[in-house]
């Protein structure tokens, strides 16, 4: 029996929302019985970007803002893995937002959890793109990643949870994992995860969240309804939570990988099977 690293103790401030995200992830991995060695957690850089150290799985600390392309590379190299990308709102919506758009567009079957706290926790509290009327340009509206997700035609799973609502968050994390693991595509879960030190939004968000899962009239498979609902709630100063949209669209790995093929991550040292193909390439170069 080979032993591995001892999962770290979280380094977060007491009360940080990120604890909630970690709790939900732990719960979901356990509930779905996903083995640590089959799980790859990738995280960006930020306070949020240390979650990958705490769960005993494979963990990778990506460059700031680049967790999604990295996760795509990993998922394509080994589609048997449960790939979970994670990070902060600075990481995902500021420096990383271009990759976010393109990942929604590509629809690879992996999970992406953004811990949204409206601030750059690790660098000591600068305003992030989800901060309304930020210091540096008081006119700016907060970025709403869910409506952004709705605007991308290939998006298939858009959900929002709240660190202050752990049961719902557990459920949403499970649903996100199921979506990705069943090969339906990119499961995006934003968690309202307050930074108690630099932007304590617990009471504010507590009052604003509106759980769409509890709304019987709501149909999460209707993209237009989803958009309209988000806009209406925004006007009412409410924040929608729950599974806001779920649908189907071809996935990246279906387009690029042959079903059932050996993952390219598992190097075959025996190249003899490829030799005839290499010979043919060489032949084609002869003059």
């Amino acid at each position: 029996m080979t032993t591995n690293y001892k999962p770290n103790q979280p380094i977060w401030c007491a009360g940080c929302g990120h604890f909630g995200v970690q709790g939900a992830l732990k719960y979901a991995l356990k509930t779905l019985d996903i083995q640590p060695h089959e799980t790859m957690i990738l995280a960006g850089i930020g306070c949020s970007g240390s979650i990958q150290n705490n769960l005993g799985t494979y963990g990778y600390h990506a460059m700031h803002g680049r967790v999604l392309p990295t996760a795509i590379g990993t998922a394509l190299a080994n589609p048997a893995l449960t790939v979970i990308a994670s990070g902060g709102d600075g990481d995902g919506y500021a420096i990383g937002v271009g990759h976010f758009v393109h990942t929604l567009k590509r629809n690879p079957s992996l999970v992406y959890i953004v811990m949204n706290n409206g601030t750059y926790g690790l660098t000591k509290g600068q305003d992030s793109p989800t901060k309304d009327a930020p210091d540096w340009a008081p006119g700016e509206d907060a970025l709403d990643a869910i409506t952004l997700g709705l605007s991308i035609g290939s998006s298939t799973f858009l959900a929002r949870g709240f660190a202050g609502a752990p049961e719902q968050l557990n459920e949403l994390t499970i649903k996100a994992l199921e979506h990705a693991r069943s090969g339906r595509g990119f499961a995006f879960l934003e968690v309202l995860s307050p930074c108690v030190t630099y932007n304590d939004t617990y009471p504010l968000w507590e009052a604003m969240v509106h759980d769409l899962d509890k709304d019987a009239d709501y149909d999460a498979s209707d993209r237009t309804l989803a958009f309209t609902t988000c806009m209406k709630l925004k006007d009412d100063h409410r924040i929608p939570t729950g599974v806001i949209y779920q649908g189907d669209h071809p996935t990246l790995e279906k387009a690029l990988l042959e079903e059932g093929a050996r993952p390219i991550a598992q190097i075959d040292s025996d190249i003899s099977e490829h030799r005839p193909k290499l010979d043919a390439i060489l032949e084609n170069c002869r003059v």
Binding site: T3, T70, A75, G98
Partner: protein, 600 residues
């Protein structure tokens, strides 16, 4: 026929007599759709069948479509990896071709000019050149209904000029159009034959061409570019993941792999930008796939953060830099060797890296394999530095696939992991290399990060740990040093004068050395093939020479700086620099060396 041959039986001495040539440079030039590249492709086949070695390059102007396109082919009995000084033959489909290429025609050169679009511009060609005026375009339309066929027509004339047999010429068409139906092939053959007939009228029969080429033993050869050869090496070494973003002149690599990967189960991704590209490659690589990216100046700049990160996080990575004329967007289609500083010193902090620098397609292939292996072995970024050679086409001996050995370094099997007792991703070892499990392997869980970390991968700023980790990473380079390619050295060991160059300049220097030797200037030549770490053989070379010229394609002498920073004595070195976007010619290099020697 309103053709006219000017000076055909006059000109420089030998009249219309056949000249024996074992080295010939031919350019075909015209507008984008004129088929210049096709004519050169026909000719490549013919000369290759004669056993000549080939070197080919094309010149596509910046105009987006149409605009001027030229292809140049050199065929020679001795292998040459550059063009001749002058054009022996110019096939010009329009006056612009004469205006642009005319000054490069040799005094005894032959010009085949398509008069369909206008008369030959005067005063540009050397007065002693022979001009054959043919209305290719007009005749192709008249006889075959399509201007398109003028390339075959032109090749008919050209093949007679070059003393090829009709069968040889026919074989070229058939080989090139081997995927065409008989029906589609016919008019092309018709055009070729019209070309023959036209030549007959000018009294250029098969055994009475203007040039006579030898027939040589032909070894098993292929024709390939540096980009293709590099991609091929990567594929042969088990490379299975590529992500890139279009950029001249690196895009070929993505295309080449994109076409061939599917049958190998490999994946070539066009990313949304270079940041995504390098990070996709990182993601695939840390998951276990052999992965590569390729780009050029601006893209390589954007990848610097990722490259340094791989150096820190110990992630295998192969990066091809197809260097082009910078800075910034610079001149995207022109070659240069000006990312040497960037590759060897770019990215913040100290980390292990290797920069391999091939000078021939064989080396491109070989280093494609080597880089893929070294990346696995040393778990760090390995650059392959290409220059103009990435787009040049060469005939070279067919690559020896039997020689390809695959090295997966310290990748652990499941069984090995379970025997470890304890798995630490960044275990400190004597050779600096940590045995490595990939995600998915039971009991192999570990943490990977670009932060400083302890052996388990847990972030640490402990000073003692820091020193141990930096030293560990640095040791990797020592562990693989013996596998890094030393310089290619040639010439006279007794020579006082040494010349150092890299990449595409190597073949130019080879020929320059021969010419200089004939004139009594004896050189010893040295082409480093690993730029980082710069190996001792290069420093020793400079030390052992009386004086050394460092020849490179950039303004600031980046290679010379590199040599000096590695300890080569500055006072022995002088730079010969070229940075106008045009490859250095043999004549230029000969002149530059002679000038320096005279100035002593």
């Amino acid at each position: 026929m309103n053709a006219r041959t000017q000076d055909l039986s006059a000109g420089s001495g030998s009249g219309s007599a056949t000249t024996a040539r074992d080295d010939v440079t031919v350019m075909v030039a015209g507008q984008g759709g004129d088929g210049s590249l096709t004519v050169i492709a026909f000719l490549s086949r013919a000369l290759s069948q004669r056993g000549l070695d080939l070197f080919r390059t094309s010149n596509i102007a910046s105009r987006i479509k149409g605009g001027h396109a030229a292809a140049i082919l050199r065929g020679s009995a001795v292998r040459r990896g550059c063009l001749g000084d002058k054009l022996d033959i110019l096939v010009a489909f329009d006056d612009e071709a004469i205006e642009k290429a005319g000054p490069s025609v040799a005094d005894d050169g032959i010009v085949i000019y398509d008069v369909s679009r206008g008369p030959l511009p005067g005063g540009i060609l050397p007065p002693t050149a022979r001009v054959i005026e043919v209305p290719f375009g007009r005749l192709a339309v008249r006889d075959l209904r399509r201007d398109l066929f003028k390339n075959c027509f032109g090749f008919g004339v050209l093949s007679r000029v070059m003393g090829l047999t009709d069968d040889e010429a026919l074989d070229c068409l058939k080989h090139r159009f081997r995927r065409l139906s008989e029906e589609d092939l016919m008019p092309n053959i018709g055009a070729l034959k019209n070309g023959f007939a036209f030549a007959d009228d000018l009294d250029m029969t098969t055994d009475h061409g203007l040039i006579e080429l030898p027939r040589l033993e032909k070894e098993d050869r292929i024709m390939i570019t540096g980009n293709e050869a590099t991609a091929f090496g990567f594929l042969a070494a088990g490379g299975r993941f590529f992500a890139g973003y279009p950029i001249t002149p690196a895009t070929d690599i993505m295309d080449w792999l994109g076409k061939r990967f599917p049958q190998f189960g490999g994946v070539a991704m066009q990313a949304e930008d270079e940041l995504a590209a390098i990070n996709m490659v990182i993601g695939a690589s840390l998951a276990g796939a052999k992965a590569m990216t390729a780009s050029s100046g601006p893209g390589i700049a954007l990848m610097q953060e990722g490259i340094g990160h791989c150096g820190s996080a110990e992630i295998p990575l192969v990066i091809v830099d197809c260097q082009r004329a910078g800075p910034s967007t610079g001149m995207p289609t022109k070659p240069e060797q000006s990312d040497i500083g960037l590759m060897t010193q770019g990215a913040p902090g100290d980390f292990p890296r290797v920069v391999l620098c091939p000078g021939t397609p064989e080396e491109c292939f070989e280093y494609g394999v080597l880089a893929t292996n070294l990346a696995q072995v040393a778990q760090c970024p390995i650059y392959i530095a290409l220059d103009g050679l990435c787009q040049f086409t060469y005939t070279v001996p067919a690559f020896d696939l039997d020689s390809v050995e695959i090295d997966n370094g310290k990748r652990l099997s499941d069984a090995e992991i379970s025997k470890l007792g304890e798995y630490r991703r960044y275990a400190i070892t004597e050779d600096g290399i940590s045995p490595w499990a990939i995600p998915g392997q039971p009991e192999g869980m570990g943490l990977m990060t670009g932060n400083e970390r302890n052996e388990w991968g847990q972030v640490s700023t402990d000073p003692a740990n820091r020193i141990a980790m930096v030293d560990k990473r640095a040791r990797k380079i020592d562990s693989i040093r013996h596998r890094l390619p030393g310089a290619y050295e040639w010439g006279d060991e007794q020579a006082e004068v040494g010349v150092v160059c890299v990449g595409m300049v190597g073949d130019v220097l080879a020929e320059a050395r021969e010419r200089l030797a004939e004139q009594g200037t004896i050189l010893i030549c040295h082409r480093p093939r690993t730029l980082w770490p710069l190996l001792d053989d290069t420093v020793d070379f400079v030390k052992n020479c009386d004086r050394v010229y460092v020849v490179e394609l950039n303004k600031s002498g980046q290679l010379a700086q590199l040599l000096k920073s590695a300890g080569a004595p500055a006072q022995k070195m002088q730079s010969i620099l070229k940075y106008d976007g045009v490859p250095m010619s043999v004549a230029e290099l000969v002149a530059a060396i002679l000038e320096k020697e005279r100035a002593r």
